[in-house]
Symmetry: C2
Subunit: 357 residues, 2 copies
């Protein structure tokens, strides 16, 4: 499914937007998932003074963190410092970040009663959005800090991925037992939850575009926790609605974790850029019939940034060669978020190699 | 790569061996990964009286546990009750099973010095094998307990999967950081470890065949933790050698966890049966050029055994229809080990549906 994208002024100066439109820019654009975060000492310094939720919800802090990686490396994009769980937080699920354990919710959604409660919380969409005003302000603060070549990326978690945290009460740690139980045993409750998340996510992303986001990434981090049949039945219809709504405004990157087994149904979801995880060969994805007219993004294994210089360089060049040979556009990225202890020199090296011509 | 298998007497009465040879038996054979274990109350009763290592290394106990699921369900195979870490245990790595945490090694292999120590431990292959005499005795005890239609499955962990535990010192919990560091930074040490494991695993499986195993499964549980390039470079050459050596004796099942992104290189490793994990569509694997002349095994999501009866039945029938339509043989199984809290009625239901004609 192809959509004609509106011509937006300044697009021609931004390599990332050019690549997203399937063009070949003067240099290959590069950004790194989780670039605004834990691998930078200046980020860890901020974190010592504030708790995580304060960092997300204070525009001065969030805008500063968003720009931190761009002060060090000539990256082609800033991705707004935010979290995929800010919507459930705004819905009153009581989000906290437990050190070393990740996010935790005070409330979970596992029954018709829970869903009824959530529906009441979600009823007034404007009120829910107003609880996230800090985010649009963060975007507005970041925008002037970018050069004419740099692109501002907004994002959200895809409905299934966010739902899994709301059902589990935090990270699912690989199993997704409660999430799958709900989907298998109480499909109507599960679908009700997905409806709410889809509706709110559309508005959430629209407001990010209004505030200056030029491209959006939808993070389906836990797509690979579903079988292809479960993905098609319980997940894809909602992501499709989200992607279709937003592509009317800006280009959209659909990143799916562990998508190799889901490639056909995942690529049936319309997107401008497909974000490829590191567990598969970029060349195989590039040959897929449904990627011939869309751009690819990815997919270096983040652990390669710990490899000796020569090994890293060889893998970056191999990935780059495959990406550049793709018939659509290509954006260099990792195939998963950058790890907290990653050596900074490896990031410098990667950006330098990608920008060579 | 095709190998002509030797004609073995009684094969014709065993549906699982028929399917492994690409034939269509009178009924579709079925067994379940981890069938001898935690989901059975009679297993948990044994476990209350003995520690895990005693259960593996005491032939009377291990043989009894192996046969437990066959007393309840008309399964087509028994898989020997053993562990993929018995070889490193015999090498002196000091294996313990910590409740709720899984296996733990007292020693790890992370340096040239560690490898030198391990090489000395592995030097006398016969002595290493003698430390696992309990296993051949277990196999010999199980064999008379099987009907003429039932097949005895021996197994081992594939070298990379076993190596990852030896490097990490236990379960890698999803990240495999130390394993990948060794592979990327000390490839010669990593290869030395793989050489040792390959050599010992070949002998270990040969001894299982000598003791009565009629088919072998090689468990590459953590195949999907490697990128396709890493899999081809550091893993496939060793598994290939293992599989080629054993296929001279009996048919071989190659099961790989999260293999969707590795399908081309994984299927380049010769096997009679390819074991498919639940994260991909069996129909996609069935259409792959390299599976046209081999059998498939799999691949129901183990969490479906918690679904309502109608949902489970629909998914079993869908999987079965795809498997039976495969041009090679087909063995029904889960796409991962059965979970400890699985309802027993679901297993009864599955076996009944699979055996219908």
């Amino acid at each position: 499914m192809e959509t004609t994208l509106p011509i937006r002024k300044n697009d021609s100066t931004k390599p990332l937007l050019q690549a997203a439109r399937g063009e070949k820019p003067a240099h290959t654009p590069v950004w790194l998932m989780r670039q605004a975060g834990r691998f930078l000492p200046e980020y860890r310094a901020v974190r010592e003074r504030h708790d995580t939720l304060t960092m997300f919800t204070t525009p001065e802090i969030a805008a500063d963190i968003t720009l931190q990686p761009l002060r060090r490396f000539p990256l082609d994009a800033a991705i707004i410092y935010a979290d995929i769980l800010l919507i459930p937080h705004a819905l009153g699920l009581g989000l906290t970040f437990v050190k070393g354990e990740g996010p935790r919710f005070a409330r979970t959604i596992r029954s018709a009663e829970d869903l009824a409660w959530l529906s009441r919380q979600a009823e007034d969409v404007d009120a829910v959005m107003a609880r996230m005003d800090y985010l649009w302000e963060t975007l507005a603060r970041v925008k002037p800090g970018l050069s004419a070549e740099q692109t501002l990326i907004g994002f959200c978690g895809a409905p299934w991925t966010v739902a899994s945290y709301m059902i589990e009460g935090g990270s699912a740690h690989g199993e997704f037992f409660e999430s799958k139980m709900l989907l298998l045993r109480e499909p109507d409750v599960f679908r009700g939850l997905m409806e709410i998340l889809t509706k709110l996510s559309i508005r959430y992303l629209e407001k990010q575009v209004d505030a200056g986001a030029e491209i959006l990434q939808v993070f389906e981090s836990w797509g690979g926790a579903l079988t292809p049949h479960q993905y098609m039945t319980f997940c894809a219809p909602y992501t499709r609605r989200l992607c279709e709504a937003l592509r009317k405004r800006v280009p959209l990157i659909h990143f799916v974790g562990e998508s190799a087994g889901l490639l056909d149904p995942v690529l049936d979801v319309p997107s401008d850029v497909f974000g490829v995880d590191w567990r598969q060969d970029l060349a195989v994805v590039s040959r897929h019939a449904r990627t011939q007219t869309r751009a690819l993004q990815g997919n270096l294994d983040p652990l390669l940034l710990y490899a000796p210089e020569a090994v890293l360089e060889e893998r970056v060049r191999a990935t780059l060669a495959t990406g550049r040979a793709h018939p659509g556009g290509y954006i260099f990225n990792l195939g998963h978020g950058i790890r907290p202890t990653t050596p900074i020199e490896s990031v410098e090296r990667i950006v330098k190699i990608v920008h060579e011509r």
